[in-house]
Each structure stands twice: as structure tokens, then as C-alpha cells.
């Protein structure tokens, strides 16, 4: 077991712990900070998986932009009153059952189907390490075969910007 594998297992354990803390804390701001820890650990796992660009995007977009947006909206809340309320609905055992059954289902799918795929690709999976120049490869793919989805993503973002402005705009005071 190399040092990198140990690092991966540390990142995995830390991200599970911070995700659990994020969904169970009473104070919304504490939840946000635990989600920040989760995002940074997931970025570390991306680095270990050879997805450097994805790690950078994770830190910039998730930790930098999305989480700050959430924190701004949390400022609308009355945090002391929010802490006094019950955290979970009365149906939380059902929710926990749904989460656990999803995990069990994913595990089952993995052990039943993935064994074959894993052995099938085992022959060429011998080359060690991440592919060289993966950022250049991603850039070429984004502007080559994936150019249309790339442009459509900008359309989705434009629609969401317009939608957010329309939804959050203060209505005119008349009528």
C-alpha cells in the first residue's frame, strides 16, 4: 500500500465524515463549512485520480462560487430561530432507509456487474499513472467532438441566469 493509496483512504474517510456532519448539523452555517471541507477533499481525490482540471474547477466553481452563493442566501435566515427548530422531519428513519438502500443497491450493482468489466479491461489497464497532458486532451475534446454540448451548456447557464433574475426580482409595488 503506497503513500498515495493511504492518502486516498484518508480523503475518502474525511469526505464521508464531513458529508455526514454537513447533513446533520443544527446551524446552517456550520453545515456550509462542513460542505466546504467535503468539496476540498473531493478535489483532492480528483487530483489523485489524475483529473487535475476537474480538481481546479471543483475548487473554483464549487468552493469558490456556489458555496459563497449559499452563504449569502443563509444570511436571509434567522439562524438562532433556525437552530431552535427540529432539524429533521418526523419521517427521518424512512429517509435513512432510502439512503441506506441506495448504498446497498449501488454496492450490489457494483459487485454483480463490474467484476466482468474490470477483468475485461484489466489487460490494457496495466499502464500506470494518469494519462499525460490530460488538460490538453480535455480541451481538444471540448472544442472538437463535444463542441455542441459545450455550447448548449452555455445556453443552460444563460437560461438559469435569466430565470434567477426573474424569480428573485422585486415585484413592482403597484396593484
Amino acid at each position: 500500500m503506497t503513500l498515495l493509496t493511504l492518502t486516498f483512504y484518508y480523503m475518502a474517510a474525511a469526505s464521508i465524515a464531513s458529508a455526514l456532519l454537513a447533513v446533520t448539523r443544527k446551524n446552517p452555517v456550520h453545515s456550509m463549512l462542513w460542505v466546504l471541507a467535503l468539496f476540498l477533499h473531493v478535489a483532492g481525490i480528483f487530483l489523485l485520480l489524475g483529473a487535475e482540471f476537474l480538481a481546479a474547477v471543483q475548487v473554483i466553481v464549487y468552493a469558490g462560487a456556489i458555496l459563497i452563493f449559499y452563504l449569502f442566501v443563509v444570511m436571509l435566515l434567522d439562524v438562532p430561530e433556525e437552530e431552535a427548530r427540529p432539524r429533521f422531519g418526523g419521517h427521518w428513519p424512512l429517509a435513512a432507509g432510502a439512503g441506506l438502500s441506495f448504498i446497498a443497491l449501488a454496492w450490489l450493482a457494483q459487485v454483480t456487474t463490474f467484476e466482468k468489466v474490470g477483468t475485461a479491461s484489466g489487460a490494457r489497464g496495466m499502464t500506470e499513472g494518469p494519462p499525460q497532458g490530460s488538460l490538453a486532451e480535455i480541451g481538444m475534446a471540448l472544442f472538437g467532438p463535444f463542441a455542441l454540448p459545450f455550447e448548449l451548456a452555455s445556453l443552460v447557464l444563460l437560461a438559469s441566469i435569466v430565470g434567477a433574475v426573474v424569480l428573485a426580482r422585486r415585484r413592482a409595488a403597484k396593484s
Binding site: L4, T5, F8, Y9, S15, I16, A22, V23, P28, S31, L38, V42, I45, F46, L49, G50, A51, F53, V61, Y62, A65, I66, F69, Y70, V73, V74, L76, L77, E81, R85, R87, F88, G89, A95, A98, G99, L100, F102, I103, A106, W107, Q110, G118, S121, R124, G125, E128, P130, P131, S134, I138, P149, A153, V156, L157, S160, G163, A164, L167, R170
Partner: protein, 101 residues
């Protein structure tokens, strides 16, 4: 392989399960949206794992699109939260009974 694929997929499944639990159990709409973010991160993790295992960059490209859609979802979702907040302060889903007569 620094990270075995089975471990990555297991971690992804556990994170997704935590997100499902949080989405279904929390009563605060902002924390429900945060649970959705946890689920999307879990999916990205498994995509990156597959991308490494099969030495394919398509998994990472798909993860980039997932991140773009997550950003769009946050914009619209939090715009809805602000609009709801204007009518009734607070973010508890149990209070959102406007459609219930």
C-alpha cells in the same frame, strides 16, 4: 493505481446515500439544496474514477457538464428561495403550504 476503482465507486455510493438521506430528512430548503450538491459531487467522483480506470477523458468532460448544470441549478434554486423568503421569512419546507387549501 493510486485509488482502486471499487473503492472510488463505494465512496461515491456512500456519499450519494448521505445526500439522499439529507435531501429527504432535512426540513430546511437550503440544506436540502446542499444535499443535492453532495449527491452531484458523488456522481462526479464516480465519473472521474471511471475516467481514470478506462483511460478515457470523456468521463471528465461529462463531470464538467455536471458541474455546469449544478451551477445553473443553484442559481434557479436559490432564486426560488429568495422569492419564497419575500412572502414568508424562513426556509422551512413545512411552512410552504401556499398550494394546500
Amino acid at each position: 493505481m493510486t485509488a482502486p476503482l471499487n473503492a472510488v465507486l463505494g465512496l461515491s455510493a456512500v456519499l450519494f446515500g448521505i445526500g439522499v438521506f439529507g435531501f429527504l430528512a432535512r426540513r430546511n430548503i437550503i440544506l436540502m439544496l446542499i444535499s443535492v450538491e453532495v449527491m452531484l459531487n458523488a456522481v462526479n467522483l464516480s465519473l472521474a474514477g471511471f475516467s481514470q480506470h478506462f483511460e478515457e477523458s470523456r468521463g471528465q468532460i461529462l463531470a464538467l457538464f455536471v458541474i455546469a448544470v449544478a451551477a445553473a441549478e443553484v442559481g434557479v434554486g436559490l432564486g426560488l428561495v429568495i422569492a419564497l423568503n419575500r412572502n414568508k421569512p424562513g426556509a422551512a419546507v413545512a411552512d410552504l403550504t401556499k398550494l394546500k387549501w
